[in-house]
Symmetry: C2
Subunit: 156 residues, 2 copies
């Protein structure tokens, strides 16, 4: 049985994100999964996603951390629901704040791995800590505050 | 006389950034200019740069703030050089940390304007504050720490 990514549990009208939307033909299609208590996404940058030659563009790294975190928030909020409230779709989160520390240049010639931990879950807010690895080394750290979108934004 | 953007003063080998490199055919080509003591970039998102339908993807907004800030840092460091050390190219900066607060959803159907201020310039480090406007309203605020790249990274 194929395991679906968090993003495949977003409602159709909430699946247009350039970073992770399954309905965005031009986007990055970031996919996130549970791995024990952590969440994992993997992504292979394209050769043109350069900062300085040989290294990944920081805006892409921030984008990966962003969508990894909204996905993690969605999955955490869903997991926290009582069984009788669990529906077909995950709650959808948006980002309130994004903090990214670039510890070292991230090489572009390899698959990147993002690992997330839930630092706090309170009401509609989730704080996610993310480490981004290339070739086994942490290159970037992120802390992201995500919020469940209001009910009246939900697709009918 | 056409005024050149900061990014057009980067050395050729430092012009491959996906966000702002003049030599990156696939990239965003962000261009930044002085406006008094502030710096300005303008950018029209593509229809596919969506978060939720109608709004701009946060990863793109973070990317714009990132490159606006490295550009602002470069121009500020160049402006700070004694005249006899001013060469053909601006010093090139990379991002050490990026903090972005999404105050409200950013509409996608308009040109975005980023305005930057130099909060601190000390040695090789510049801290840049950025406000991102859509339709005259601040939607996103950023604070970015950028560092001049080491001399031994400079293209020969």
């Amino acid at each position: 049985m194929e395991i679906k990514s968090f993003q495949e549990f977003y409602a159709e009208d909430f699946s247009h994100c350039y970073g992770c939307g399954t309905n965005n033909e031009r986007g990055y299609h970031i996919k996130t999964y549970w791995d024990g208590n952590e969440t994992v996404s993997k992504f292979k940058p394209k050769p043109y996603h350069t900062a300085l030659p040989g290294y990944v563009y920081g805006g892409l790294l921030a984008s990966l951390i962003d969508c990894h975190s909204t996905g993690t928030g969605s999955a955490a909020l869903y997991g926290n629901l009582p069984d009788e409230e669990k529906g077909e779709y995950y709650p959808r989160c948006v980002t309130a704040s994004l903090k990214v520390d670039f510890l070292k240049p991230t090489p572009i010639d390899c698959e990147l791995e993002l690992r997330g931990k839930i630092k706090e879950l309170k009401g509609r807010k989730v704080i996610v800590e993310v480490d981004l690895f290339a070739k086994g080394e942490i290159c970037v750290k992120g802390e992201v505050v995500v919020l469940q979108v209001p009910d009246d934004w939900r697709p009918k």
